[in-house]
Symmetry: C2
Subunit: 423 residues, 2 copies
């Protein structure tokens, strides 16, 4: 099927300078990812390493008619100083005024673009309890803004930017220049910025993801069954679930592709109908710490046992954030032949790694993965199985050793993926 | 008198490394300037060039017990892109959500530190009408936050940071490294970061400024008369005016020194009692544009004629911001022997140049320069002569050729300054 074809059938890759590719990445971020409307304000978040890309995006946004681009720049060094010198009470604080401000910006119609590209191990040497408390306070403060995002009230997208620390984590043996160059090339390729017409390439790719989602929606499976080494997991799907992939029309009428890259089709599991055990297939970089070799047992939708070879404490604290943090909010299918998986790289970055393998997410469900979910009440969504939480953390459970079956309404098992590929 | 003595009687200057001086600048910013309380949040604003100083300040703030330091970093390049590519409607927009957020932060008790250090000519090539519209929209959006600052509801301060563009404007003939080094030295000296005990040096300096203000308050002049080349200006003082200088206790109980450096004593003129003509003695860098050789005539408190050899259009638009923009909100006395004036440098930066010469400000008055002003209503303040405006723009009218007389309640003229020095 065309939807599972690797990149070879798509547009050829062009020889372009770094600056050209950076500019094209900004172009697709604004036009394909964000679908920015003329006259709309844009709020961008990024770290200092991303400033060159931020400027390109700012230019493309203004040229597309943005009335104002405001970028909230975070300095990772300053974030570390907090862990070194701040009093203990600091770790229950968050810049509530800033997060409330973001929510206000979105409510008045601003689009949101996040430039992802942080040091995946920034906080790995810090006290996990402080990391967890700080993340919890931030998640709580960010909730009003995040709800507008997860409910797709506004058009939004996330794009990536290479940083020295990230590049060193992906290419540990290389010089900084070489590692940065390799990581940028991987980002440009996965973001289709190296195609002759990146916007057209995204249109074509988006159509394929929609076709795959339509096929799964037609099946109306009641559950998926994942099987492989260390994994025997039945994931019940929520009542009236919708498979989504690629772009979506936000409530403000703008068509956006919320993740760049994206190779996944995903839906909302039933928060009470997940059973069995599952083992992660890639390390998870979670807000500055690494969690690896996660092994979890679910019963009645709830994690009843959780281990990790690395970062177990962070994992434990994460699932203790609230009741919903130990239940699933997303299940996602990605074939091993996806361009990112084909690269063979471990990116230590969820935006990339989740698009290289099937994955699940603990925490908040996306309401638009349920029929009529955008307009449904929280109670109605919960009754249909949609999970609620302050967190939404994706982690990878797919590999070429994993088979996936779809369980039909009458209990029959149909093969969906075999050895990590669509059947 | 000790208050008018030049720096020579103060602590000697030490030989310190750049990093040591930068660290001491951060230390005095937090301890002498801000008077940060343990358990208080800090909101900082800065441009990207200031990141090394921002990190030092962040460290000192956390070590002083700050629960959270949040820095809003502005990128000047992105600001320029707006002028190059944004649609016309952009220039009536402002990030209202961000300014409202700052006001919310201050209302919940956060202190505010601004790191000044921008390119003084950033917008000088841009359309003055767009610059003026954008400034007006920003001033309007910033007003709720600025009111909390000008009313000293919270502790706040402004410190300076050298930037390549600023250094090039101050030392046009030097290499970038040499110019930066000279500007940093001037900042360290003016901020007393080069003293053996900078915090003690500020305490001593602050006491001298308070003594000078007390002497002027004792006089209860009804007006000041400035005379010199191109200047014959009578500035009526507001009813129950207070001369202030150095630090002040904010409504939250914290003692702060709002400007670093500061060499001035200042009070609130009567908005309807300013008459005569005045000529600026230094160029004014106003939000990215230069205005030079200002020549203005007042009648009944109101500017009735305004010219400038450079930037006249920007000046005209500035005073058209609102009715209060063409009236005075501040008058300030600085002797020519102040350390900054003694340096003989033109800083193209109000924080420095206003502390090297007597100056006046168009626009908003400081309510704490009136007796009981912090608790008075807007109507009461206005009735006593305090001006209201979206703007507050200082410009320099002092020099070694200027004499200042104080006019007593019974109409006698007493010499206050002669040839720019305290009598």
């Amino acid at each position: 099927m065309t939807t599972s074809m690797p990149a070879s059938k798509e547009q050829p890759i062009c020889k372009l300078s770094f600056e050209d590719k950076l500019d094209r990445l900004a172009q697709v971020a604004v036009h394909s990812g964000l679908g920015l409307a003329p006259g709309q304000q844009l709020v961008m978040t990024a770290t200092l390493d991303a400033v060159p890309l931020v400027r390109r995006i700012t230019e493309h946004a203004y040229r597309a008619g943005a009335t104002l681009v405001t970028t909230v720049l975070a300095d990772e060094e300053s974030a570390l100083l907090r862990y070194r010198y701040a009093p203990d009470a600091s770790f229950d604080c968050a810049p509530v005024w800033l997060y409330d401000g973001l929510a206000a910006a979105f409510r008045s119609g601003a689009a949101r673009l996040a430039v992802a590209g942080s040091n995946p191990s920034l906080l790995s040497q810090e006290d996990p309890q402080k990391v967890s408390r700080a993340n919890r306070a931030a998640s709580k403060a960010y909730r009003p803004a995040m709800e507008l995002i997860t409910r797709h009230e506004i058009n939004w997208t996330i794009v990536s930017c290479a940083t020295p620390a990230w590049a060193a984590a992906v290419f540990p043996g290389l010089s900084q220049d070489e590692a940065m160059s390799r990581l940028w090339d991987a980002i440009f390729a996965a973001s289709r910025a190296d195609r002759p017409d990146p916007v057209a390439a995204w249109k074509e790719h988006d159509a394929k993801l929609h076709e795959r989602a339509a096929q799964l929606n037609h099946k109306r499976y009641s559950a998926l069954h994942f099987r492989g080494p260390g994994t025997d997991l039945r994931v019940g799907l929520s009542d009236g679930h919708l498979w989504l992939g690629g772009g979506t029309t936000a409530a403000n009428g703008r068509y956006c592709i919320p993740n760049m890259p994206t190779e996944e089709v995903f839906t909302t599991p039933h928060k009470d109908r997940v059973d069995g055990c599952v083992t992660s297939t890639k390390p998870l970089s979670h807000q500055g710490t690494m969690i690896d070799k996660i092994s979890v047992r679910f019963h009645g939708g709830r994690i009843i046992e959780a281990h990790a070879a690395t970062g177990e404490q962070v994992l434990q604290r994460m699932i203790e954030t609230d009741e919903g943090a130990r239940r699933l909010g997303e299940v996602s299918l990605v074939p091993q032949s996806s361009p990112i998986a084909s690269s063979g790289l471990l990116f230590n970055n969820t935006l990339f790694d989740e698009n290289a393998a099937c994955h699940i997410a603990l925490g908040q469900a996306y309401s638009n993965c349920l029929e009529g979910g955008d307009k449904a009440s929280q109670e109605d969504l919960a009754a249909r199985g949609a999970n609620e939480s302050l967190i939404h953390v994706d982690w990878m459970i797919g590999s070429s050793l994993i088979d996936v079956e779809g369980i039909t309404a009458d209990g029959r098992a149909e093969p969906v993926m075999r050895q990590g590929e669509w059947v």
